[in-house]
Amino acid sequence: MTQSSLAAAGPSDAEIASALDRLAVSPASNLIAVLQEVQEKFGYLPAPALKEIGRRTRIPLSRVYGVLSFYAQFYTEPRGRHTVRCCRGTACHVRGAGRVLDAVERELGIGEGETTPDLVFYLETVACLGTCFLAPVMMIDNGYFGNLAPESISAILGSYRSKAT
């Protein structure tokens, strides 16, 4: 399945309307909180939803886009089923996070901010996961993997790949 065919299967107008009804989106709403809730609901921020948010909050679409593109945690395209977050914090860095990230990129064949063609993994780096005592660390979805070495990456990612199929 390609990215575009998946995007085509995004939420319908009715689904978007009902989600925004439930959140009572109005000019009094806080835009960031609304975007967070909508992303939580659909897994990303579909373009028709952004238009509708702009209409209901009376915030121009350009400003809605300005806000969402400012923050690292908003995305406008669907991402892989599993999110791999490699920590690039200081403690991880001095303990070899660079090599771990290289190994992950090699193993998945993608770079930071990209999704594997099979839509199983999305890779991102984060400034610090606040688990410096486990350095170097990565998270896959809500699971932590600490004290990593490049050699351990293949097996960890493999276990998620087999879950996915």
């Binding site: 690292a72 403690a91 090699r106 400034a127 490049p150």
Partner: protein, 613 residues
């Protein structure tokens, strides 16, 4: 839960809670930070085993916050004996129940050990022995999801005392006398900040708790919100009373899901108990708190950017004045303090300003929490009086550098800070002394670096961070950090030019002088401080094309020592680039053109035959 209508209701509730029958034993499992290594499985196994043996009435399992010694995850404390266990797994649970809870014996293999000798008591473990845990006193002790537990341990007593019998000016005077300074980085006197917000005209007034702890390497605010959220809320109630603010906001980063959950729960519980909302404890004081979740932008730790983000806009800073105390959230007077500062406030009131200020240095009073990480044995959260030395923190408490390596520097203050070199190990640390050697206290991140850490690479790392996190509003920060990064990349890639050192110095000073906000003004600090103390490392990279620490990959060469190589083929099998050639049982060789310098061969070689130069 009961709703409290007066201060005596709170006192009565606390007495009732304290009078409840006590269990024979309490097992406190760190269920926040240690969750990464299976703390919840340990809790589940404990509860199951205790129920199976019918000990449910006699033993209580507390899903507590962080114990501090994160290197010992999963960390467990058994009371009343005060036994500290580390590295606990679910499979250790039957032994803990059988031997420690039932037979009263300690299990040596789970204890911290010194020269092969087990140290069972938490208070005897060097990591704890040299600390002064004031703010963290109940972190790891109380169940952060239970307001009853916090109240039983004294929570909200200081707030009640303030609301019941003090004047706002008097509270501000007390905080001023205590010498408390902002724990978020700049060290601005808290009492003075409150005074400015109180004096400002405008209605309503706001207070904000900055929990956007974005400095890589700092995790004390995370631990406080996860492990003792009622302490932070109590501090905010006291501040709201002093400033006469009716609304509070806790702005917490989304990367801390447990902190978000515990904060929201604690606010809801406090509201239900009548400790937040209208007419708190019948005193006529109105104050409530809402949470806002950050969306991933480091610059939002800067106060004017944070306010923009709370308002739902791009988190970009604006010039000051006007300061938030005059025109902050929605243009109204706003007081912002960070989590650790708010958590200090109830202690100031409980102890009184004079007792609070009895520890510390002339200019910096009280204690400071440091997040100790990097190349140090006992990583974790450490609370020491202001004025403690690096040697005390890194060696006495942190247990020194692993693998017998030498201490090279401590990076303090994250991307805004600098490196404190080994000759200052005995410098008493406070806001002013750290600044004098070119670093900053910052939020208290303390990353230990040993001789295998390259200081140019560290400078490059932080510059890369600041460049990515620059909001782009002002050009010195947006363009300047990018130009610095280009120069540093060139140096660590082995293409540095002799003039680059001067260029970095000039560019750094320009960015510092001309940037709009704290992020830009401090972004050059890591470069300027490493240039000051480790200039020889820059010179080695530029003139000799050599990385003295052996960390900059493009400057390394891997080769195989033919004398040592047994031809086992393990390295060739593990090489991701197919760069290793050789026949079985014959010495192998690395094809340098193909080598990606990942170090995989060196890591897997059992004969120490891979040489890295």
């Amino acid at each position: 839960m009961k709703r409290l209508h007066s201060i005596s209701d709170l006192t009565r509730w606390r007495n009732e809670l304290a009078a409840r029958p006590r269990p024979d034993a309490v097992v406190r499992v760190c269920s926040t930070g240690c969750r990464a290594l299976g703390a919840l499985e340990v809790c589940g196994a404990l509860e199951e085993e205790i129920a199976r043996r019918g000990l449910g009435d006699r033993v209580r399992v507390v899903r507590a916050g962080c114990h501090g010694l994160c290197a010992g995850a999963v960390a467990v404390v058994v009371d009343p004996q005060g036994v500290f266990y580390q590295g606990v797994k679910a499979s250790d649970v039957p032994d803990i129940v059988e031997q420690t809870l039932l037979a009263g014996k300690t299990i040596d293999r789970l204890c911290w050990s010194s020269d092969g000798q087990a140290v069972p008591q938490q208070q005897d473990v060097p990591f704890y022995k040299h600390q002064t845990r004031r703010v963290l006193r109940h972190c790891g002790v109380v169940d952060p999801q239970s307001i009853e537990d916090s109240v039983a341990h004294g929570a909200y007593a200081a707030a009640a005392a303030v609301l019941g019998s003090r004047q706002p000016e008097d509270v501000i005077a007390e905080v001023t006398r205590s010498g408390l300074r902002g724990r978020g980085g700049a060290g601005f006197p808290t009492g003075k900040k409150w005074h400015l917000a109180r004096q400002a005209t405008g209605d309503p007034k706001y207070i904000i708790c900055n929990a956007d702890e974005g400095d890589p390497g700092a995790f004390m605010d995370r631990a406080l919100l996860e492990g003792d959220p009622h302490l932070v809320i109590e501090g905010m109630i006291i501040g709201a009373f002093a400033i006469e603010a009716r609304h509070g906001v806790i702005y917490v980063r989304a990367e801390y899901p447990i902190a978000v959950e515990h904060t929201k729960l604690a606010i809801a519980q406090a509201r239900e108990a009548g400790l937040l909302g209208g007419n708190i404890l019948g005193t006529g004081v109105n104050f409530d708190i809402e949470t806002r979740i950050g969306a991933g932008a480091f610059v939002c730790g800067e106060e004017t950017a944070l306010i923009a983000s709370v308002e739902g806009r791009r988190g970009m800073p604006r010039p000051r004045p006007p300061f938030p105390a005059v025109a902050g959230l929605h243009g109204k007077p706003t007081n912002i303090n960070n989590v650790e500062t708010w958590a200090n406030v109830p202690r100031v009131i409980e102890m009184g300003a004079e007792a609070y200020a009895s520890v510390g240095t002339d200019g910096s009073k009280g204690t400071k929490i440091f997040a100790l990480a990097g190349k140090v044995t006992s990583t974790g959260l450490v609370e020491v009086p202001m004025g403690a030395t690096l040697r005390r923190i890194v060696f006495d408490i942190g247990g020194g550098i692993p693998a017998g390596r030498k201490f090279k520097a401590a990076q303090m203050g994250g991307p805004s800070g600098g490196c404190v070199p080994a000759q200052y190990l005995d410098l008493p640390i406070d806001y002013d002394s750290v600044k004098a050697v070119g670093a900053i206290m910052g939020s208290g991140g303390l990353i230990v670096m040993d001789e295998a850490t390259c200081m140019v690479d560290i400078a490059r790392f932080f510059t890369d961070f600041c460049q990515k996190e620059s909001c782009g509003k002002c050009s010195p920060c947006r363009i300047g950090t990018r130009r610095m990064l280009e120069i540093l990349n060139r140096i660590t890639d082995g293409n540095g030019e002799p003039e680059d050192i001067d260029r970095l110095q000039r560019l750094g000073e320009m960015i510092r002088e001309t940037s709009l906000c704290g992020l830009g003004q401090t972004a050059p600090n890591p470069v300027l401080s490493t240039l000051r103390w480790f200039r020889d490392e820059y010179e080695a990279h530029i003139h000799d094309r050599r990385c003295p620490a052996g960390a900059c990959r493009k400057l390394l060469t891997y080769r195989i020592d033919a004398q040592k190589c047994k031809g086992c083929t393990v390295c060739a099998a593990n090489c991701p680039a197919g760069a290793i050639v050789g026949e079985r049982k014959r010495p192998h060789a690395i094809v340098l053109e193909k080598c990606v310098r990942c170090g995989a061969c060196s890591a897997v070689c059992r004969f120490d035959a891979v040489v890295c130069e």
